[in-house]
């Protein structure tokens, strides 16, 4: 086991898959000569050349649209969006085209494409560059939405995504590239669509993913000092959603909170809570609480931005509330 950063994990996954399969190529804004705006593809241009590391115009429709077309004829493009906020410029392709083409044409088309996109707040980038709109994308059948919270999962899930024959949105978090974690030696894959218990506990279930995992782990450490043992279920994939470990944990603890960075209304938490009520109502001992972003556009001001984002203490308070 080696301890590496999230950035290194993603970079390794990309490189291993490019070495394995010549049909895999990368396209996006500043992925090549620049080395990637988050330095994930640093060195790739020199290693693979402009044919496989394609710098694109700043034109998100062209990037995702062309990736879809290339995927339809058998290539395996990885299209990078500089941030997930720019996905809104390419919404037709992410929502209306990639997830629909197979179904609408009776199974004739496959779209083996990965869209890598960086989301999340906390870097004082202002309201249009700091969003966590994951739930929006998870709404649509036909798309798969993956968002890992550890380097191990990032690497294994990204490799699976690149090998998948379906269109996949792979969401990373802008503040997590330096997060370090153990990664297995040698090649490994993690299947898409499987939630995982990342921390075992007996008293309460915390359901979360991506940045929420980092925060929840810290909260769980604090709670443990007060003899409260939280079990943390990491969704890892938002669609298709694997409720198995969530329900298994909840049936044991009978109390849960959901932690996400996106807005609370119509969010991932709303879905998880509904599913628990629908599928495990008899096990509910307390109302389930959602910890999420305040219902405001994120401001530039650092203190205000942090006040709007979910924090470790919000998680601790929510856990104590459901344990009352």
């Amino acid at each position: 086991m080696a301890k590496i950063t999230m950035r290194e994990a993603i970079s390794q996954a990309l490189m291993e898959e490019m070495d394995r399969d010549p049909a895999v190529f990368i396209m996006g804004e500043e992925v090549g000569v620049w080395g990637g705006t988050y330095a994930v593809t640093k060195g790739f241009y020199d290693k693979y050349g402009p044919q496989r590391i394609k710098d694109t115009p700043i034109a998100e429709n062209a990037i995702i649209g062309a990736a879809i077309g290339a995927a339809m004829v058998g290539q395996r493009p990885i299209a990078e969006l500089m941030t997930i906020n720019f996905a809104f410029s390419a919404m037709d392709y992410i929502i209306n085209q990639a997830p629909k083409l197979r179904y609408m044409f009776g199974g004739q088309f496959s779209v083996p494409m990965v869209i890598r996109a960086v989301g999340g707040g906390g870097r004082q980038l202002g309201a249009t560059h700091s969003q966590t709109p994951d739930a929006v994308f998870a709404h649509f059948p036909g798309l798969k939405v993956v968002s890992p919270g550890t380097p191990e999962d990032a690497k294994g899930l990204l490799k699976s995504a690149i090998r998948s024959n379906d269109p996949i949105l792979f969401i990373e978090h802008a503040t997590m590239y330096q997060v370090r974690g153990e990664v297995p030696d040698g090649e490994y894959l993690i299947p898409i669509g499987q939630s995982k218990i990342q921390r075992a506990g007996r008293d309460v279930t915390i359901v979360t993913y991506c940045k929420g995992l980092e925060l929840s782990m810290k909260a769980a450490d604090e709670l443990a000092k007060e003899d409260i043992e939280a079990e943390i279920v990491d969704l890892r994939t938002l669609r298709p959603l694997d409720m198995g470990p969530v329900l298994e944990s909840f049936k044991k603890t009978n109390r849960a909170i959901v932690v996400e960075e996106g807005w609370k209304s119509y969010g991932v938490g709303s879905e998880i809570v509904s599913r628990i009520y629908e599928e495990a109502f008899d096990y509910v001992d307390a109302p389930i609480i959602r910890v999420a972003q305040k219902e405001v556009p994120l401001p530039y001001n650092r203190a205000l931005e942090q006040a709007a984002l979910p924090q470790v203490h919000d998680i601790i308070e929510a856990v104590k509330e459901v344990l009352k």
Partner: protein, 318 residues
């Protein structure tokens, strides 16, 4: 062009017309649902264009796609079954009028978001470029699609990267009910290619042989030079935009004037004047088409309905 091929083109044009006339009847009877956009009047465009391609060249088009489907060799049976939403349809009844495809015939679909398929066309060509072949992607769209951002992003990418796309603008004078001059800064659509340094030309879309010659030349350029090309084909739809069109935006005199230039009538006259064939032989083709279309309707109506299980198939590959 050999006589047999010319007669084949005539057959294709008449087939498109008759399939759509029957389609319109079935629509009125409530047997076809959704939106249906007829190609009647524009048959020479796709017929001449697709005759000029090699089988390995890809076609992708907009929602007015019945003609393109038939020209690509999708049978009248499969087109009619798709219109009726049957499992035997070319898109298994899940696409309908606007979404017909058959990848085995290199027909990459009718696409119904205006302009949305243009970046995808760049991508098909990108896939071929990446594979190292010189296939041409032929992307058809209406005049209305040249005013939306997709068009400009797609053309810019194609020229910047040297993608083999033949962009074909079917200028039928109206984007839905809005005349070209009311929606586009330039009325000669081909001029838009100039901004991207892209070679372009314009041709009369009511004459199938002229379309064929222009398309052939443009495709040769795209293949040899490894560069995109924009071909504007001027045409006119004789019917409304879709089945529910009150046609308040154009005068009947204008429609009548264009109908005097019926592409099937023009080609028929040419074939007889050139002594390529006789009126009798063409009448026989017409009769054969009537029979073909009758059989297609019978086939479509007799085909089994989709079941609720089919609702959940073909969402994901895995």
């Amino acid at each position: 062009m050999k006589k047999e091929q010319q007669l084949d083109l005539y057959h294709q044009m008449v087939l498109i017309r008759r399939v759509e006339e029957r389609g319109a009847e079935l629509y009125q009877q409530g047997k076809i649902g959704g939106f249906m956009h007829l190609y009647i009047g524009q048959e020479a465009v796709s017929t001449g264009l697709i005759a000029a391609r090699e089988p390995r060249d890809r076609i992708i088009t907009a929602y007015r796609d019945h003609g393109v489907a038939l020209n690509c060799g999708i049978s009248a049976n499969e087109v009619m079954a798709e219109l009726l939403g049957k499992e035997t349809g070319t898109s298994k009844g899940k696409g309908g009028s606007m979404h017909m495809a058959d990848t085995s015939k290199n027909m990459w679909g009718g696409h119904a978001i205006v302009g949305g398929h243009l970046p995808i066309a760049s991508g098909l060509a990108l896939g071929d470029q990446y594979a190292g072949n010189d296939n041409v992607t032929i992307c058809m769209f209406g005049d209305g699609a040249t005013n939306i951002g997709y068009f400009h992003e797609a053309l810019n990418l194609a020229k910047t990267w040297g993608l083999r796309v033949l962009w074909v603008c079917e200028n039928n004078q109206y984007g839905m009910g809005t005349a070209v001059e009311r929606a586009s800064a330039v009325t000669e659509i081909r001029q838009k290619a100039e901004g991207y340094g892209m070679k372009n030309s314009q041709v009369d879309g009511m004459d199938v042989m002229k379309v064929y010659e222009a398309a052939k030349e443009a495709m040769d350029y795209v293949r040899k030079e490894g560069q995109p090309y924009l071909l504007e084909i001027d045409t006119y739809r004789f019917r409304g935009h879709s089945m529910g069109d009150p046609e308040r935006y154009r005068k009947q005199e204008e429609v009548k004037k264009w109908q005097e230039n019926d592409p099937i009538g023009i080609f028929r006259k040419q074939l007889i004047e050139k002594k390529a064939t006789t009126a009798k032989a063409l009448d026989d083709i017409d009769a054969g088409v009537d029979n073909e279309v009758n059989k297609a309707v019978e086939f479509a109506e007799a085909s089994p309905e989709l079941t609720v299980e089919d609702l959940y198939t073909d969402i994901y590959a895995e």
